[in-house]
């Protein structure tokens, strides 16, 4: 082992690939930390503005209906302490919404309509380096392990060397894989120390990366052969890399997207907008009875006598949400179903599995994104529950009472 370690240290090409792995990992971790810090700073700034703006707006109100209409509330999904390693859904799904008492679904999906999927290949984060680039470097480290010795006329000399020769290939493989793993994981752990990641998370991530590299080492050993020339081995392994890291995931994604169609986020926004706009022209009773289906407790106060009343206005906002409920549910269930299928697919797609595993640890996966959406809905429901008594009981507005407005709990101190 010591002998082979010294040998590896003198192998310039191998050390170059390992150094490159370190540089790429360190770069990805640094960029990830910067992105997370940027998101945190953005949230802190918005949070400050949000509070100031709300205080300002509330001070100008004369009734609860206007207050509910004009006050925005920041909801956010702050990055976890491991998000720097795998930004995952944070690149494609919103992690902040300023919402108000109006129909909610449109407010949630509005961002989707203006936010096309730009992260087709994924961002250059640690997960990307580990899942897609690391195998490439591993291939470069291992493809010519035996064929190179054969080409140099040393294969027989090594294998005829008796006792130690048997273990040579295994030891060389382990050291190269180990060196690559250390080069990848070290920057991750340093980044983790900076971000305050839990030791468990860092160990789990290291284990995942090591297992993934072990898979590739096994594949290189199985697919590459001393009987081939190095370039044949390299071609075979690069083909496998392309297959496993690009073709298979792309095919699986396409198959899954085809099997589970999603309603368009934009459709939800449009449908809701139409429902809300149409409500102005509908008989008020129609709106109110649809509203009362959900809120029979306001039956007694539901009479609308004037041409415009806030309670009617908010009732049709709520009915707007009710109208797109099936679409919105289909959208969420579709995303969850796709995610579940990707989970199955990752059993046959190790690159997907690693990326998913890291995103899970980083809480940047689809589950986390859906959970955040659920928290936003939850919060919006609390806002409604808080405002409805003011509106239906026709209470007088008071800035002081507005202090009791529910606050969104981001579940994390930013």
């Amino acid at each position: 082992m010591i002998r082979e370690l010294r040998f590896l240290l003198r192998d310039r090409a191998a050390m170059l690939w390992i150094a490159l792995a370190f540089i790429l990992s360190a770069t990805a971790v640094t960029l990830g930390l910067a992105e997370v810090r940027q998101q945190q700073a953005e949230l802190a700034e918005i949070d400050r503005l949000d509070r100031a703006d709300r205080a300002q707006v509330l001070s100008e109100q004369s009734d609860w209906g206007g207050a509910a209409y004009s006050t925005f509330h920041l909801t956010s999904d702050p990055p976890s302490d491991f998000a720097f390693a795998a930004l995952g859904q944070r690149d494609v799904s919103p992690w902040k919404h300023r919402i108000r008492m109006l129909a909610l679904e449109g407010q949630i999906y509005e961002t989707d309509a203006t936010n096309p999927d730009f992260a087709l290949t994924g961002r250059f984060d640690f997960a990307f380096v580990a899942a897609l680039i690391a195998p490439l470097l591993l291939i470069l480290l291992l493809f010519d392990l035996r064929s190179g010795e054969r080409a140099a006329g040393r294969l027989e000399l090594i294998e005829a060397s008796g006792a130690g020769a048997k273990r040579v290939w295994r030891t060389r493989t382990i050291l190269r894989v180990g060196g690559l793993a250390v080069a990848l994981i070290l920057p991750l752990w340093i980044g983790g120390a900076v971000a305050g990641t839990s030791v468990f998370t860092l160990l789990a991530a290291a284990l995942a990366v090591t297992l993934y590299l072990a898979f590739w080492a096994w594949l290189s050993r199985t697919a590459g052969s001393a009987a081939h020339t190095g370039s044949v081995n390299l071609t075979i392994l690069l083909g496998l890399w392309l297959l496993i890291c690009a073709v298979i995931p792309a095919m699986l994604t396409q198959a899954i997207d085809g099997a589970v169609p999603l309603p368009d986020g934009g459709d939800i926004v449009l449908t809701q907008r139409e429902a809300v706009n149409d409500a102005w022209d509908l008989p008020k009773d129609a709106t109110m009875s649809a509203f009362l289906d959900r809120h029979p407790e306001w039956e007694a106060q539901s009479g609308i006598d004037r041409p415009f009343e806030w309670k009617w206005y908010y009732a049709f906002q709520q009915v707007g949400d009710q109208t797109v409920e099936p679409l919105s549910r289909a959208y969420r269930e579709g995303r969850a179903e796709r995610d579940r299928l990707v989970g199955f697919a990752s059993l046959v797609s190790p690159a997907t599995a690693l990326q998913r595993g890291l995103e899970r640890l980083a809480e940047t996966d689809v589950r986390a994104s859906l959970a955040y959406e659920a928290r936003v809905r939850d919060y919006h429901a609390r806002l409604r529950a808080w405002h409805y008594p003011n509106l239906f009981e026709d209470r007088d507005f008071s800035v002081k009472d507005a202090d009791g407005l529910p606050a969104f709990d981001s579940g994390d101190a930013t």
Binding site: E156, S161, A163
Partner: protein, 242 residues
């Protein structure tokens, strides 16, 4: 010449490479402590014979034994007791002679002490000042000398040397021949492959002449004398002796 138990026994050996037969029933014996030179033209099957003895190629017929170990079945034991000098021996160019020897001897599980290494490099006449330099700066003959030194330092009872003198200058060849004789005197068995009729006659106790995968002649050194170069040369080139 004393009759010793054979260290190497090759019996009716048939070997094919890439589907075509290369050795067509080769038989010979190398007595322990003797020097045997396998002589033959390009493509005769000399290297193939050595590779088969080391278990890198499987016989399709016949058998071969080294120190009583069947080469096909007991490969590990054979490799343990044999030092092999490959035909185109290239050690690691980015390592020095010292580092290469250290690496390969450690690989073979042989203990090395620096004194023995230097003594052996002296024996093959590798310049002292070159020994710590990367081998990519060596000439062909210098590289060959280090490879020979490696085979010697393995300190095994049997040596299989494939064209050990290729790349060596005439002085170095003479020194090498003397070296091989002294190995034999130490009781080690040497099977060497060569094209060099003169050199073979200088060192060998017995010469086997291989032609297109068949043993076509055997020449023994008379008691207390060397094999006659003229006789072997004529047999090798196919011309009758004058």
């Amino acid at each position: 010449m004393t009759i010793a138990a054979p260290a190497i026994v090759v019996d009716d050996l048939h070997v094919s490479r890439a589907g075509s037969p290369v050795l067509h029933g080769v038989s010979f014996e190398v007595p322990a402590g003797s020097v045997y030179a396998l002589l033959g033209g390009n493509g005769a099957g000399k290297s193939t014979t050595l590779l088969t003895l080391l278990g890198f190629l499987q016989p399709s017929g016949g058998s071969a034994r080294v120190l009583e170990h069947n080469v096909a079945a007991d490969t590990a034991a054979v490799r343990q007791s044999v030092a092999y000098l490959p035909e185109a021996a290239t050690l690691y160019p980015h390592l020095s002679a010292y580092e290469n020897l250290d690496y390969f001897l450690d690989l073979a599980g042989a203990g090395v002490d620096q004194g023995a290494v230097d003594a052996t490099l002296d024996r093959v006449a590798l310049q002292a000042e070159a020994r710590g330099r990367r081998m990519e700066t060596y000439s062909k003959g210098m590289r060959q000398k280090v490879a020979i030194a490696l085979a010697l330092l393995r300190d095994t009872p049997v040596l299989l040397l494939d064209e050990p003198t290729s790349g060596l200058d005439p002085v170095a060849i003479d020194e090498f021949n003397a070296l091989v004789r002294s190995l034999s005197d130490e009781g080690r068995t040497v099977l060497m492959v060569t094209h060099d009729v003169y050199g073979a006659c200088q060192v060998a106790d017995r010469i086997g002449l291989l032609r297109r995968g068949r043993m076509v002649g055997t020449f023994d050194a008379p008691e207390g004398a060397r094999i006659d170069t003229e006789t072997v040369h004529s047999a090798f080139t196919g011309r009758s002796a004058a």
